[in-house]
């Protein structure tokens, strides 16, 4: 009988820890939504931070992440193609794979430090391009890994069929392999974008954050996450409220991107 009692106790404890964990996560979400909604108004979407709005922050954060994506995606996909289609099995490809895996989990603040060393120190001030560079470095290994993984799922028969009808290798890659791995790669890209859009640490001293509307990437650039950090530590209550509102907007954006990514994957699996 004691075995059954132990069983009950263990299962109870496990469920309890599940409840505790979920309780904390729920607590975070509820406080975020309650505080965030209190500060949310149409006003903050139509004004810049100088007038207590977050319009320039949303624009800035998106622009930084989007530019990083524009540079990171082609490069990352090409590198992924090389790893899987040309260099597969070679020692060089293995080293790159391991390195980019490690880089994917490297502390994001260290990447900020690196960009500070190679960009901000020579230039002398924070700049939007430095933020783009930092996010680009964060994103690159994710794109490489995603492309690599997705291409490895493409059946060898497809490649052989392409080559058998006389297509050259790049033709096979561009028109057959990439096409069949499209959904997976796009999903990976969306998730990668969602990840870098919420990053703070690499932007802290690379892009900095500006309180004005700015499209000049060679000077300090507005960043949502950095501004949240700055606002939340200020003593004025309305600044803190604004930080919560911005945090809610940021979280909703990230979650929507994640949901889109999941939806695409599910769509593919259903087929």
């Amino acid at each position: 009988m004691s075995r059954l009692i132990i069983n009950k106790i263990v299962l109870g404890l496990s469920s309890l820890s599940g409840v505790i964990g979920l309780f904390f996560l729920l607590w975070i979400l509820v406080s975020l939504v309650v505080k965030g909604f209190a500060g949310l108004s149409p006003y903050i979407f139509t004004h810049d931070l100088i007038d207590h709005g977050i319009r320039n922050l949303i624009m800035g954060q998106f622009m930084l992440a989007a530019l990083a994506t524009v540079f990171g995606v082609p490069l990352g996909i090409l590198a992924g193609i090389y790893l899987q289609e040309y260099g597969n099995g070679t020692r060089y490809a293995e080293i790159i794979r391991d390195l980019s895996d490690v880089m994917m989990s490297a502390p994001s603040i260290v990447i900020g430090t690196f960009v500070y060393a190679i960009y901000v120190i020579p230039v002398g001030h924070t700049a939007g391009w430095a933020g783009v560079l930092a996010l680009f470095i964060m994103m690159l290994p994710i794109v490489v890994r995603t492309t690599d993984d997705m291409l490895s799922l493409v059946p060898v028969e497809l490649r052989e069929a392409g080559i058998a009808i006389g297509a050259s290798k790049y033709h096979v890659i561009l028109h057959i392999i990439l096409r069949s791995a499209k959904v997976g790669i796009v999903t990976g890209l969306i998730l990668a974008f969602a990840r870098i859009v919420g990053e703070t640490a690499p932007l802290l001293y690379t892009s900095g954050s500006s309180i004005f509307w700015s499209t000049d990437l060679s000077s300090t650039f507005p960043s949502m996450t950095v501004s949240i950090y700055n606002l939340a530590t200020q003593p004025e209550q309305d600044m803190v409220d604004l930080a919560w509102a911005a945090a809610l907007v940021l979280t909703v954006m990230v979650l929507i991107l994640n949901l889109i990514g999941r939806y695409l994957i599910r769509d593919k699996q259903a087929k």
Binding site: L99, I109, T113, A117, Y170, T200, T225
Partner: protein, 348 residues
């Protein structure tokens, strides 16, 4: 055309390679003055930005506590400079003015500005942030591992699919929430809550560690659940057929089978906790002091980098690069061992 494509692809890989290697090299180059100056003693030296006389090294350790005050002042001055660049000189004047009343209490920094006195030098040691990082990570793991395992087991073995599916998705989505949200929650809700229970400050090592723990729970739980789910049903059914209880199946079948994946998920989460900046930056305090109680504020490497980087120059900047290099190497080793021993990719 084919050749161009190959070269293009090859070049991209080379760029990826260069970026990764470049990180380590540039960190090393920038850290070199500090490495030369302080060597490996840096790792155990608790003094940060302390002015010492070259003859008597040990006499001036009492000055340790005064450094945070100075940092605060300079932070104010610098944020003023940030706000309006036109006011740069004005901000700098302010900075100097702020210092005057303090001068008879401590002359740290002032003589450094003049740069003429050769009998003193500033000493930096990384022990406080290093110890802070280690302890906050340990607290985070102590808190997160049992709860994550509970969630993982609950999701894969106990809960019915109708509950497990939405909760599982929710956990994965929570893993995607930007870490700065966790930090804000820690600062405004969790810190004061803990302080009301345990006493002490609402920013402390304990709060930092626990916020980190909460942050890695979804991540660790999702990875462990995936590992547990790889256990073949046939093994579990065999054990049930022999009359094993659920506990025994979990303990004797699932855990041994999924051991590598679970340990791997813990180590990857450890790496994440180690390098996490924003969740901790709000709540650990950012002062260069060892903790006497767990509710004292202290510092960690990422937070030291985040708070002090933009206002540092010369040796103090180099020291921060040194810290960044240490953090990078440590997390490199941790992640690499996790990948190598526990999470080998089988797909190629």
């Amino acid at each position: 055309m084919d050749k161009i494509f190959v070269h293009l692809a090859k070049m991209s890989t080379a760029i990826v390679f260069m970026v990764l290697i470049g990180t380590v090299i540039s960190l090393y180059i920038n850290a070199r003055p500090a490495i030369k100056e302080f060597g490996s003693y840096f790792l155990i030296d608790p003094r940060w930005g302390v002015e010492i006389e070259l003859e008597s090294v040990t006499d001036n350790i009492e000055q340790l506590g005064q450094q945070p005050e100075m940092k605060d002042l300079s932070e104010d001055a610098i944020s003023e400079i940030d706000v309006e660049e036109d006011n740069f000189s004005y901000g700098l004047d302010d900075f100097e003015d702020d210092f005057v009343p303090m001068e008879d209490e401590t002359d740290t920094g002032q003589s450094e500005l003049e740069g003429t006195s050769k009998t003193t030098k500033e000493v930096y040691g990384g022990a406080v942030p290093i110890v802070g990082t280690i302890f906050s990570t340990i607290i985070a793991l102590l808190f997160a591992v049992p709860i994550s395992m509970g969630i993982a087991v609950f999701l894969s073995e106990i809960a019915k699919p109708i509950i497990a599916a939405p909760v599982g998705v929710a956990i994965e989505l929570l893993a995607a929430i930007p870490s700065i949200i966790y930090g804000m929650w820690g600062l405004f809700y969790f810190g004061p809550f803990l302080a009301s229970i345990f006493g002490g400050n609402s920013v402390s090592l304990l709060v930092g560690g626990l916020v980190l723990g909460v942050m890695i729970i979804p991540f660790m739980a999702a990875l462990s659940r995936d590992a547990i789910n790889t256990t073949p049903d046939i093994l579990k059914e065999a054990a049930y057929a022999l009359g094993a209880t659920k506990t025994e199946v979990i303990k004797d079948v699932i855990f041994p089978y999924a051991k590598k994946g679970i340990i791997g998920s813990i180590i990857v989460s450890l790496g994440r906790a180690l390098g996490e900046t924003m969740a901790v930056a709000f709540v650990i305090g950012g002062v260069y002091q060892f903790v006497h109680k767990v509710t004292d504020p202290t510092n960690s490497i990422p937070v030291a980098l985040a708070n002090n980087f933009s206002e540092s120059s010369g040796m103090s900047l180099s020291v921060l690069f040194y810290l960044a290099l240490i953090l990078f190497v440590v997390s490199f080793i941790i992640i690499f061992s996790a990948k190598y021993f526990f999470l080998r990719r089988g797909s190629y």
